[in-house]
Every structure is written in C-alpha cells, then in structure tokens.
C-alpha cells in the first residue's frame, strides 16, 4: 500500500518572525504545490511568526485557498487570521 509522506514547513525558522514579500511567499507556494502534486501532505507550521505582510498573505493563503485537504496551516497567529480571511475572500469568484 503506498504511503503518503508529510512535508512540514516552518517558515519562521528560515525567514524570521516577520514574513513579508510576495517573492518569498511565491517560492513557498511553489514548493507546496510541487509536494501536493507528488501526492504528499503538507503542513505549514506558523509557530514563531509575529506577522505577515498583505502580499505574503495573498500569495500563500489566498492563492492556495483551493489546494484541498492535503494542505493544512497550523499555529496560525490569531493576529493575522482576519487578514487571511480577507485575502482568501478576495480570491473567491465573484
């Protein structure tokens, strides 16, 4: 029986507590998408993140909103939850 690998990403470890920039988020998003296409599950752990920029949020959360059950975000700081909801709703079809 094939096993599903789980990839865990913890952006704060590599990029610090402030995640800013569409370029950075785009690179993360592409890494996530490659893993999902390969059949892996992906967990993005936002522990130790203080805040994210609007562009980062839109690129990561907004553009991955329809990625499906294989992707999950954990330890999302409560401070950014309204922003996440906002960018996700902005990417919904009218």
């Amino acid at each position: 029986m094939p096993t599903t690998q789980t990839m865990t990403l913890k952006p704060a470890d590599e990029f610090g507590p402030v995640l800013a920039g569409r370029g950075l988020a785009s690179a993360l998003r592409e890494e996530i998408e490659r893993a999902l296409v390969a059949g892996h599950e992906v967990v993005v752990d936002l522990a130790d993140v203080d805040t994210v920029s609007p562009s980062f949020a839109d690129e990561l959360f907004g553009k991955l909103a329809g990625a499906g059950a294989g992707l999950s975000f954990v330890n999302v700081p409560p401070e950014i939850e309204p922003l996440v909801r906002f960018v996700v709703s902005g990417r919904q079809p009218a």
Partner: protein, 327 residues
C-alpha cells in the same frame, strides 16, 4: 555645435513638506531629450529629506543612464561640511559618480544610519526593506510591533515599484529617524522614474477610462485595486494608510500631476509640475502606535466603509499651501 547648458540649484531646506519644491527643481531633468551640460548646484543646500534624496538620486541615475549628461556636467557639493558628509553617507556621491565614497567616513557612520539604497528586483527590495527597518529600529528604539509594521510597509511600497513601475532601473529608498524625546519621528521615501500610477493602473481594463493622475492615485489607494489582479491583491498601500491613520502619521503619494495624502490627513490636489514615475513618502510618529494587529482586525470593516463612501474625485487647488498640506 556645443551642447546646451542646464543649471539647477537647490538652496535652503527640502523637508518632507517641501517635496513639491524638489520636484520643481528637478523638472528640467525630467523633460530632457537631448544631452546637455548639467550643473546641479548644492552649495547652498541646508537640508535634504530622505524622500527628496531618493527622488534626487533616482532622477540623476535615470539621466546618467540615458546618456544625457554631457562632459562637463557636475554636482557642486554643499558648502556646509555636515550637509556634505550627510549626502556622502547617503550614497548620493556613489550613485552620481559611480564611484565609492571615501572609506573613512563610512566607517564612522552613526548607529541606525543606512544610505539611500537602489533596488531592482525581488531580492534587492527585500534586502533594502530589512536594512532600513533595522536602521530605524536602532535609531528610534521601536517596539517589536512597530518594527514589524515598518518592515511590512517598506516591503509593500518597494514591491509596488518592482511590480508596477515597469522600469529596469528599479527604485531608490531612503529613511531617517529623529529620536529626539517628545517628537520621535521617522520618514521613509521611495522613488522611481517608471511609468507612473495612471499608466500602470489603466493597464487593467476595469480602470482604462481614468484620465487624471489624481483620480488614478486615489483609486490605487482603495482596497483591492491593482493593475494586475491575477498576481496582486491591491491592499498594501491601503493597509499602510490605515496604519498611519491610527498613528497620526501621513503617507504622500505623488505621480504625474497628482499628489494624495492619506493617514492623519486625507487630501488630493492637482499640481502643475509633472512627475514621471512615482514617489511614496511616509512620515510616522514613534510615540504613537504602529499596530498591524489592530489594522488587520479592522480590515473588513474599513473596506466596507470605503465602499459606502464617496468615489475618488478631483479637487483643484489654485494656490496649494505646502505647509498646510503637511500638517
């Protein structure tokens, strides 16, 4: 036939609220189409704000790159030694002469000081945003929340240059903090000589009918407005303006013939001098909150309020008062 001569003088102070005077002095360079011997006289310069520096360097850079400076062109340095050293530290010398400034004073640069920086791509601007945030944090001893907010604002404004200015020269960013007790403030200035906001925004068919620079700027400052909706969300500048409204600071956006202020002051006017490209300047109070948590929490409500309010319109000022505008 000898090349024409162009003499431009910067005399006195060019603070945040005198950006328009900086633009007027630089206007002859904006409209150059043929090489000329250009003399820029800074001998009687007293003060250059970070925003004026960023625009000054961006303009000279574009003029140099276009091959418009004939032999004999020169920038006459300030007579005042502190002003001269300040401009050298801000990399004005390096950018204009394409030479590194003397090494001795760069080693003596004070804590919290960073020069005016040039950025041309995603990795450049990210590094510039980090550096200037570090500088302001060192100089003004900011809280963790304020530091995050500064970083986010710098990132968003610089990213706009890379994504929308459509110029291979990118942009220039400068920042300075004034840590004096009782009126701790900082200023960030980011300038590019790209296509300008109206030309960028009207690439989106939803905004193709916009004919005025001031309407274009006012529209661009609304949430979810962008020339490239597939790639961008269009909320970076809106978030910055909300941050400054709470802080009591201001953001000035100048492009074409339009300036717009947001934050503690909201205004839009028409200016006679055409600025190719875009300048975004932020002036904030370090003794007041820079609170992204509060801004994000209020984002949905703020957007609904904007949607219920009046749409961007033009206000023409016959005799604009710079001091009143900046207050």
């Amino acid at each position: 036939m000898a090349d024409p001569h162009l003499y431009i003088e910067f005399s006195g102070g060019f603070a945040f609220n005198r950006l328009e005077q900086t633009i007027e002095r630089l206007e002859p360079l904006f409209s150059m189409t043929e090489p000329a011997v250009v003399i820029v006289d800074l001998t009687r310069l007293v003060h250059f704000s970070p925003t004026s520096i960023a625009l000054f360097v961006a303009t000279l850079d574009a003029t140099i790159e276009a091959g418009l400076l004939s032999e004999g062109s020169a920038v006459l340095p300030p007579n005042s030694p502190p002003v001269r050293r300040y401009l050298e530290r801000m990399n004005v010398v390096r950018e204009l002469t394409r030479q590194e400034a003397p090494e001795d004073f760069t080693r003596r640069a004070p804590v919290g000081f960073r020069p005016c920086e040039h950025f041309r791509d995603d990795s450049d601007y990210a590094a510039v945003a980090r550096e200037l945030t570090d500088a302001l944090s060192e100089r003004c001893l900011v809280t963790k929340e304020a530091r995050s907010a500064i970083r986010v604002c710098l990132d968003e404004i610089c990213e706009n240059v890379i994504h929308h200015a459509d110029t291979p020269r990118g942009g220039f960013a400068a920042a300075q903090g004034w840590p004096k007790k009782g009126r701790r403030q900082f200023e960030i200035g980011i300038a590019d000589l790209g296509v300008g906001i109206r030309a960028s925004l009207t690439k989106n068919p939803d905004y193709a009918d916009i004919e005025d620079d001031h309407v274009a700027i006012a529209t661009a400052l609304l949430p979810r407005v962008t020339s490239t909706p597939a790639r961008n969300a269009g909320i970076g500048l809106f978030v910055t303006s909300l941050l400054l409204a709470i802080n009591g600071g201001v953001m000035l956006v100048r492009s074409g013939c339009g300036p717009a202020m947001r934050g503690a002051t909201t205004s839009e006017e028409h200016r006679a001098t055409y600025l190719p490209g875009t300048v975004v300047a932020v002036r904030a109070n370090m003794d007041q909150p820079l609170d992204l948590k509060r801004v994000y929490a209020a984002l949905e409500e703020a957007v609904e309020k904007v949607a219920r309010g009046p749409q961007p319109r033009v206000q023409h000022a016959d005799h604009p008062d710079d001091d009143a505008q900046a207050r």
